[in-house]
């Protein structure tokens, strides 16, 4: 059963330097995500991954097409959608002067829920830091705390926007395990990433985006079978990074 149904989703912005012209940051993409999946959106910088996620999260207006989350149209039921999703953003900044417990209680209140902050901190392995301020945490701890904030409403779907960018290998592994645990408990996870290993390790299915379009979508193995470089019989030696470069080219993006 699909929990997310995206059809011909479109987002356009004025062209930088020429405000009269527009360009499509997300150019009519269509995909479905099943309940309980970990779905990865891969793409180079500027491919439209974060914009896609922001439209699904209700942070950005949808200019064309539709997005249904748990049967709710995001355009018309944005606040109801927000109640059933959890979001971890790329930037992790919080109000000053508040400790982790106070911040979690605050986020709980924003969903009108009384939460057990210790339970959440335990889930992300930060129980010992309950009185610390976010700025006192390491990069990995910050990301885990950010996920704890996204879990305050016990969401059906968790959106993770480049969750392991800038983390060391240990912190990265730790976060992957957390994502796997949450998924095993029944949570659908949608993540964007640059990290091919992450996509391959975590995702049930992967969509590859480039220049606002969805150019491929399949399971990691399916993508390797289809797109890994020749010779075909050696495809099993290729990986998702080979697929990604084969599809999006080697040119540098900002």
């Amino acid at each position: 059963m699909n929990i997310i149904e995206v059809k011909d989703l479109l987002k356009s912005y004025p062209q930088p330097g020429n405000k009269k012209e527009t360009f499509n940051a997300v150019d009519g993409i269509t995909f479905n995500i099943k309940v309980g999946e970990i779905y990865g959106i891969l793409g180079p910088n500027g491919a439209g991954k974060t914009t896609t996620l922001e439209m699904l999260e209700g942070l950005n207006d949808i200019d064309g097409g539709s997005a249904l989350i748990n049967g709710l149209d995001v355009s018309t039921n944005v606040f109801k959608v927000k109640e059933i999703i959890g979001v971890q953003l790329q930037a992790n900044e919080y109000f000053d002067k508040l400790n982790l417990t106070e911040l979690l209680i605050l986020f709980g209140k924003l969903y009108s829920e009384e939460i057990d902050s210790d339970d959440l901190l335990k889930k992300v392995d930060l129980l010992g830091k309950s009185n610390a301020k976010p700025e006192e945490l390491s990069g990995g701890q910050k990301q885990r705390f950010s996920i704890a904030c996204a879990l305050v409403n016990n969401p059906k779907i968790l959106f993770l926007d480049e969750p392991t960018t800038g983390l060391d290998p240990q912190a990265k592994r730790n976060l992957w395990n957390l994502a796997k645990e949450l998924n095993a408990a029944g949570m659908t996870i949608v993540l964007t990433t640059h990290n091919m290993e992450e996509a391959e390790y975590l995702c049930n299915r992967i969509a590859i985006m480039d220049r606002g379009k969805l150019i491929a979508e399949d399971t990691p193995q399916g993508l390797i079978q289809k797109y890994a470089p020749e010779p075909q019989h050696l495809a099993s030696q290729g990986n998702i990074e080979d697929v990604f470069l084969a599809l999006t080219g080697h040119t540098l993006r900002d």
């Binding site: 207006d61 927000k82 953003l89 508040l98 209680i105």
Partner: protein, 362 residues
């Protein structure tokens, strides 16, 4: 009336504010320095330093110098002309009166000399007036004549008013403007820059919840800080509030609301932290000059008076002054309350127009 989410968020904003001790102290610093200064000088201006050279030994010279010395307007130093002249040049004296040797009533006019540094003397009028009055009263005494006229000054509002009584309401209005604009304008830009607004808006919080919480928290902050300054002014400077405190606090609350709304607008216009400061300054600075905080609008050039009267800070300062000095009630309908109603509507309309949530958060 308020949801538990709004109340909790307001509580969080209060907590954040009070945990920032430096900010609490700095917000109180400026008004407290003013109160301290008034406490030091006792609410009156400094006496004029006047040198007195008495070259005469006559009774009239004695009467004259005693009269000048007894005037509270002056701080008189008697001495030699050369010494006092030196002090005058150094700026330690404002003027010197020299009583000539033959200062007497000898059927001809005696001449007093007044030495001064004309570029420094702003109080010349006051000095001349006191000298003239003293001389006149000596003359009357000698001629045994009664004054034909006397001038008795009566305040039509039948209460004594000192400068601090005039200044305090303006100062409170200025303080509430700064606190409110910092609370909405600066915070919005900072929260946006750091992505905190975006983080809030992935939750089901609605823009009105956020605004209500900030308005609630900031109003309480303003009321508390104003109470501290007002309390000290009452206790230490013997400032009298003629109207009711309910009216005064009501006026403060309305003023806070107006400036919070205007602050949200300024914060929405400013895209960066660098931009918000000049924008806020260009909004607050003319108000500090033209809103009659330090001196009455009626003393300004006539051409700017209508503009000055229309400024939101003027309206609030006048409103507070009406309550504090004249005992007016907040509920009395006059041009000030009309001005407040207009500014409430105007600021609320502008905030709903300018404060576009998605643009603010992104």
């Amino acid at each position: 009336m308020f949801t538990s989410m709004q109340l909790h968020l307001a509580k969080v904003f209060l907590k954040i504010f009070f945990r920032d001790r430096q900010s609490v102290m700095l917000n109180l610093f400026f008004p407290l320095v003013f109160i301290g200064a008034f406490l030091f000088i006792g609410g009156e201006s400094d006496p004029i330093k006047l040198g007195l050279v008495n070259n005469s030994t006559t009774t009239i010279s004695k009467i004259f110098s005693d009269l000048v010395k007894s005037d509270q307007l002056f701080e008189v130093t008697e001495g030699e002309e050369s010494d006092l002249k030196e002090q005058l040049l150094l700026g330690d004296q404002t003027a010197i009166i020299v009583i000539p040797e033959n200062f007497d009533y000898l059927e001809k006019t005696s001449e007093l000399r007044l030495l001064l540094d004309a570029s420094q003397v702003r109080q010349l009028g006051a000095i001349k007036e006191v000298i003239n009055t003293s001389l006149l009263s000596i003359e009357r005494e000698l001629r045994n004549s009664e004054p034909m006229f006397s001038l008795k000054i009566e305040d039509v509002k039948a209460r004594s008013q000192r400068y601090i009584d005039f200044l305090l309401p303006g100062l409170l209005a200025f303080m509430l403007m700064n606190l409110s604009i910092a609370g909405s304008g600066f915070n919005i830009v900072e929260y946006r820059r750091r992505g905190i607004l975006k983080r809030l808006f992935v939750t089901p919080i609605q823009p009105k919840d956020f605004i209500i919480s900030i308005v609630l928290a900031r109003t309480l902050i303003v009321l508390m800080q104003i109470s501290v300054v007002l309390g000290l002014a009452i206790a230490l400077l013997d400032v009298k509030i003629m109207g009711s405190f309910l009216s005064l606090y009501g006026m403060v609350t309305l003023g806070t609301f107006i400036f919070l709304c205007l602050g949200f607008c300024l914060g929405s216009i400013a895209k960066t932290q660098e931009a918000v400061r000049p924008i806020v300054t260009s909004f607050t600075f003319p108000q500090l000059i033209f809103s009659g905080v330090f001196f009455p609008i009626s003393s300004m050039p006539e051409i700017v008076q209508p503009f000055a009267h229309a400024l939101p800070l003027s309206v609030i300062a006048t409103g507070l002054r009406d309550i504090a000095n004249d005992g007016t009630s907040l509920l009395v309908f006059n041009t000030t309350t009309l001005g407040i109603v207009i500014w409430i509507m105007l600021s609320f309309f502008t905030v709903t127009k300018f404060f576009v949530w998605k643009e603010i958060a992104s």
